[in-house]
Amino acid sequence: MKAGWVGAAAALAVTLTAGVALGQGAADVIKARQQGYKAQGAAFKTINDELKKKDPNIGAIRSSAKAIAETATTQYRWFPRGSGPESGAKTAAKAEIWTDAAGFAAAQKAFQAEAQKLGQAAASGDLKAIRPQVGATGKTCAGCHNKYRVKT
């Protein structure tokens, strides 16, 4: 019982110091995060633009899908505690990201899984496989945004 309390207190202390430690750095973390997702959006746009064409450039789709799949893995590190609205910096990240950490992690995982499939579909170069997978991946973007991002 006592160990449980100590553990909880220690966890709280870590949380608090992490929040404090991030303090000044929060703005940088948020900025890097925004740039990361911006690149994701641009990569998605590249794929969608190509798919609108009569003769899509598979190479462009492939490199963008690869970038999306890679970022889907690194994005786990983009949300340290203290980089939410409480940081005072301008961010669309909702507090729910941390209060509902399990739900957020599940949403991130769903995105990563679909992004990896997109990377594979793009690697195959088969447009019939790419088109539906772009939609499936897009749905997981929305899955996070609807719940954990302030609608702007």
Binding site: Y37, G41, C141, H145
Partner: protein, 224 residues
């Protein structure tokens, strides 16, 4: 009885009324489909608004007298003169848009044109939903278009609010029902207005064909 002396005059032709009420519905539909995230419906609604705007501009040049820009877009002197009579009682109602209302129409049309144009190039935050011409702009510029799309919607809402307020003012203060005039196309006036002509239906069909062609090209991503 003075009211008995009034006559019912046909002012607004069917295409003008149809455009007006379709825009009322579609502005609502566009707002709602965005709210619930049905961007496929939102694009369809936008295409319809685009078609209506193309038609209305065509009709503003080739349509009937009351629909023509040349008949209702007046200079600052005429506007000022009209504003001075606005609160004076017993003013005879004007056939068609008054000099002040004419500019409200121009402003609302301009806001709608901005609204649709920005939407054509807009890109959403994750690069997934986008306007039919967004492939011609970068992601960053597309995001800017999305912001302008939102901004111009607020401008549009403000203009619509002003428009509705003006209609209420005419109803309450001047006892003139402009809503029923836009529904039936007819309005009670003191005398038969001179020089009001209507365009033949065939011309409306030509305008509709032009609107459909523009929408078709835009939907195809600007390719013929």
């Amino acid at each position: 009885m003075k009211a008995d002396a009034k006559i019912r005059v046909r002012l607004w032709d069917a295409p003008t009324r149809l455009v007006h009420w379709s825009l009322v519905v579609l502005v609502g539909v566009s707002w709602w489909t965005h709210e619930i995230g049905r961007m496929d419906w939102h694009r369809w609604s936008g295409y319809a608004v685009l078609g209506l705007l193309v038609f209305r501009l065509f009709w503003g040049v080739f349509g009937g007298t009351t629909a023509r820009f040349s008949s209702f877009v007046k200079g600052p002197r005429a506007v000022a003169a009209y504003v001075r009579t606005l609160f004076a009682p017993g003013q005879a109602a004007l056939p068609g848009h008054n000099p002040l209302g004419g500019w409200a129409i121009v402003a609302m049309l301009a806001a709608l044109i901005c609204q649709v144009t920005f939407g054509l190039f807009a890109v959403d935050v994750d690069g997934i939903e986008s306007g039919p011409l967004s492939q011609y702009v970068s992601f960053d510029l597309g995001r800017s278009f999305a912001e302008w799309h939102e901004l111009s919607f607020n401008v549009l809402l403000a203009l619509i609010a002003l428009h509705v307020l003006a209609v209420v003012f005419y109803l309450v203060a001047k006892r003139e029902n402009l809503v029923s005039a836009m529904v039936t196309g007819r309005r009670l006036l003191d005398s038969e207005p001179k020089d009001i002509r209507f365009a033949p239906p065939g011309l409306a069909l030509l305008g509709a064909a032009l609107a459909a062609a523009v929408v078709w090209i835009v939907m195809k991503g600007g390719r013929l």
